[in-house]
Symmetry: C2
Subunit: 370 residues, 2 copies
C-alpha cells in the first residue's frame, strides 16, 4: 500500500474522480489528435487582441505575487456592473468558488439541491465535502424552478444550485422567473445562480445587475472563461452582498490568483467592443451547428450559450457512439452525463474551420452507426 | 445583516483574516509607493528570458483550459528529478496544496503540529478546517526537530509541518537529520516537508530526491515562486508516493491550473543555467544585505533562502517600527509574527538597486528610532 494510512474517513471514501476528462487525456489515451476543439465550451475565437497585448505588456511582472485583495479587478467589475467592489469575490474560475461555497455551507450529510444532470463539478465539490445531493429532474430540457423550490423546502436544503443559461442543455429562463424563484427561497437557503453563459443569453433572460443584490442568500457567478475567451486564465467571480461574498476571505487561497490572468481579465473587461463582436460570431456558429444537425436528421435545441445541445433522437449509448466516432475524425465534443439529457450531444461554438470539420465528420459517423 | 445566515458553525467562527497583507494593500492604506519590493521573498531577478519567450509564444492559447492531468509538467518534473510522473501532484502554489492536505487529513479538533512562528498560511488552513494547532518553539532560531517529534508522539498528531530551509528565519538542517526525523515519525503522522527554498540551500541540506520517496507519510513541497521567479504564476508541486499524492485528485480543482503558468513552469524547469545564475545573484544579494545590517549595528542570521532574517537586538515593537519606517522610504520588507522570532526583520534578496534603497533608508530609520 503506497497511500498514507490516516486520511479522514470522508477523504478515504471518495473516488479519485475527475468531473471531465480533458481533450489532452483523450488524445493520449486513444492516440488521436484533436483537430476541432469544440467540446469544452471554450471560445475558439480567443481573447481580444487588446488582452494579448496586456499579457505581453505585463509578462515581466510575473515574479510578483498578485494583489491578494484583487482590488483592481473588483473595482473594474464594480464600475462595469454599477455595484461596489465589496459586492465581489474573485476566484480561480467559478469551479474554485463553487468548492469554497460548499465548504462554507455544507457539513457531512446535509442536503444540497440541484437538477439531475446539471453541472458535474458542483456535484464533485458537494461529494467532496460529504454533502447529500438531492435532485429535481429537468422539465422540457430546462431546469425546473418549481420543482427545485419544492425540493428545497421539503429537504430544508441550505444550498441550491441553478444555472441560467443552463449547461449542458443551453436552455434558459426569463429574468422575472429567476428573480421570483430567488425571492421565494427561504432565507436559510443559499442560491448559487451560475451565470457563466450570461454574455450569450438573449435579452430579458438575465436579471438586472441590481435585481438580487439585496439578498444575502444569493451569489451570482460569472466568468471570463466563456465569451471572453480566457478559460486557461482561470478567472471567475461571485456577486452578492458584502457579508456573503466576504465569507470567502475566511477560507480562500488569498495568494491564489495568477498575476497575468488578472491583467488579462482587466483588459478583457475594458474591451466590450470585442466581446460584442465575439458574441455575434458565437451566434453565427450556433446557427451553423444547428443547420448541420438538421441536415443530418438530428434536432438542435435552442441555445442561450456558446454551445448547442443536439437531440440525437436515441439514447445515451447512441450519443456516446457519436461523440466517440467524431473523435476518430479529430472532432472533440462532449455530451450530458445523465438520462434523458444524454440522448443529446453538445457542440461548442467555434471557428468556421472547426464547424467545417464537424460538418464533414458527422454524416460519416452517423452512416457508420446506422 | 448582509451575510447569509446559515454558514456552518465552523465557517461562522472564522475571522476574515489574511495571513499576509500584500504590498499593494499597504500602498493603498498608507498612501505610499513601493520602490524596493523586497518583502515577500519573490525574486526581483525575474524569470528566465526563455520563460518570457514561452509565455509570449503560448499566450494565444489562453482560450483553452489547461490539461487537468498536468501531464506535461508531471513528466518534466519526473525527468528532472529522476522520479515517476505519478510521484507528483501539481497545485496553484504550495499554499493551495497545503489547504488540500489539511482537508484530507484533519477533522475538527484534531491536533496539527508545527513550530511556533512558522508559516502562517499553513496555520490559516489548519484553522479553516477546525484543526487544533500545537506548537514547538524554535531553538536557536531553527525549527526544533526533536521537540517536534516529541510533540507529534505526545499529541498523536496526524499531521506535522516542517520547512527546510525555514521561513521566516532562513535557517536549515542537514539532510541526514531531516531523513532521520521523517523515518522516526509514526506512520500515522503525515509530514509536510516544505522545501520552497530548496534551490538556494547549501549542499548537504536537502535530502536526495529519492531519500524519502518510499514513505507514504511524507509529502515534499516545491515551488516555482522563489528562485525560479514565478510567484505570480502560482505553480507548486508535491512529491510523494503515488497513493499519497494521488489523494489530491479526490478533491482538487481539476481545471484550476492556469495554462500560461504551466507553460512558464515548463520553460523555467528547462532552463537550469538561468536558475544557477540567479542562485548566484541571490547569494550575492544575501551577502550585501548582511553587510548593510552589520554596518548598522544589527546582526544578520545565516540564510539558506532568498532572504535574510536580521536580528535587531530588541523586541517585536522595535522590529515593527523598522518595518513601518522603511516603508516610509518605499522599502517594503516583512518580519516574523511571533516572539522571540519577531525581534528580527526579514529582507528578501533583490536587485542591486533594491538593496541600495534599503542601505540608504535603514540608517535613517534607525537614527529616527534611537
Amino acid at each position: 500500500m503506497t497511500a498514507f494510512s490516516r486520511f479522514t474517513p470522508l477523504a478515504a471514501s471518495l473516488p479519485a474522480s475527475v468531473p471531465f476528462v480533458g481533450p489532452e487525456a483523450i488524445e493520449r489515451q486513444r492516440g488521436l489528435a484533436v483537430r476541432a476543439r469544440i467540446g469544452a465550451n471554450e471560445s475558439g475565437f480567443g481573447p481580444a487582441p487588446s488582452v494579448l497585448a496586456a499579457i505581453a505588456d505585463k509578462a515581466g511582472e510575473i515574479w510578483k505575487y498578485n494583489d491578494p485583495e484583487n482590488h483592481a479587478l473588483k473595482a473594474a467589475l464594480a464600475a462595469h456592473l454599477g455595484l461596489k467592489p465589496e459586492n465581489f469575490a474573485i476566484g480561480e474560475g467559478i469551479d474554485d468558488l463553487l468548492g469554497l461555497i460548499v465548504r462554507l455551507v455544507i457539513e457531512p450529510g446535509m442536503p444540497v439541491a440541484t437538477s439531475l444532470g446539471a453541472y458535474p463539478t458542483f456535484n464533485f465539490h458537494v461529494n467532496g465535502f460529504g454533502g447529500r445531493l438531492v435532485t429535481a429532474p429537468y422539465r422540457d430540457d430546462r431546469e425546473d424552478l418549481d420543482a427545485l423550490l419544492d425540493l428545497v423546502r421539503r429537504e430544508d436544503a441550505p444550498l441550491v444550485y441553478f444555472a441560467n443559461p443552463d449547461n449542458p442543455m443551453g436552455s434558459w429562463w426569463d429574468a422575472g422567473s429567476i428573480v421570483a424563484f430567488a425571492r421565494a427561497l427561504p432565507s436559510t437557503t443559499l442560491l448559487i445562480l451560475d451565470e457563466a453563459y450570461s454574455e450569450t443569453a438573449p435579452a430579458g433572460s438575465i436579471p438586472a445587475t441590481d435585481a438580487l443584490i439585496d439578498l444575502p442568500n444569493v451569489i451570482r457567478m460569472r466568468t471570463f472563461s466563456k465569451a471572453y475567451g480566457l478559460a486557461g486564465a482561470r478567472v471567475g467571480y461571485g456577486v452578492g452582498t458584502p457579508g456573503t461574498v466576504g465569507a470567502f476571505d475566511k477560507i480562500r487561497n488569498h495568494f491564489g490568483m495568477p498575476r497575468l490572468s488578472t491583467e488579462a481579465a482587466l483588459a478583457a473587461l475594458a474591451d466590450q467592443a470585442y466581446l460584442s463582436e465575439v458574441v455575434g460570431r458565437i451566434k453565427a456558429a450556433r446557427d451553423r451547428i444547428a443547420t448541420v444537425a438538421t441536415a443530418n436528421g438530428l434536432t438542435p435545441l435552442p441555445s442561450a450559450t456558446n454551445f448547442v445541445a443536439i437531440d440525437t433522437g436515441r439514447d445515451g449509448v447512441f450519443a456516446r457512439a457519436i461523440v466517440d466516432g467524431l473523435m476518430e475524425h479529430g472532432v472533440f465534443i462532449r455530451m450530458p452525463g445523465v438520462a434523458p439529457l444524454n440522448r443529446c450531444i453538445r457542440v461548442s461554438a467555434g471557428l468556421p474551420e472547426d464547424i467545417d470539420l464537424f460538418e464533414e465528420a458527422l454524416p460519416k459517423v452517423l452512416a457508420h452507426l446506422r
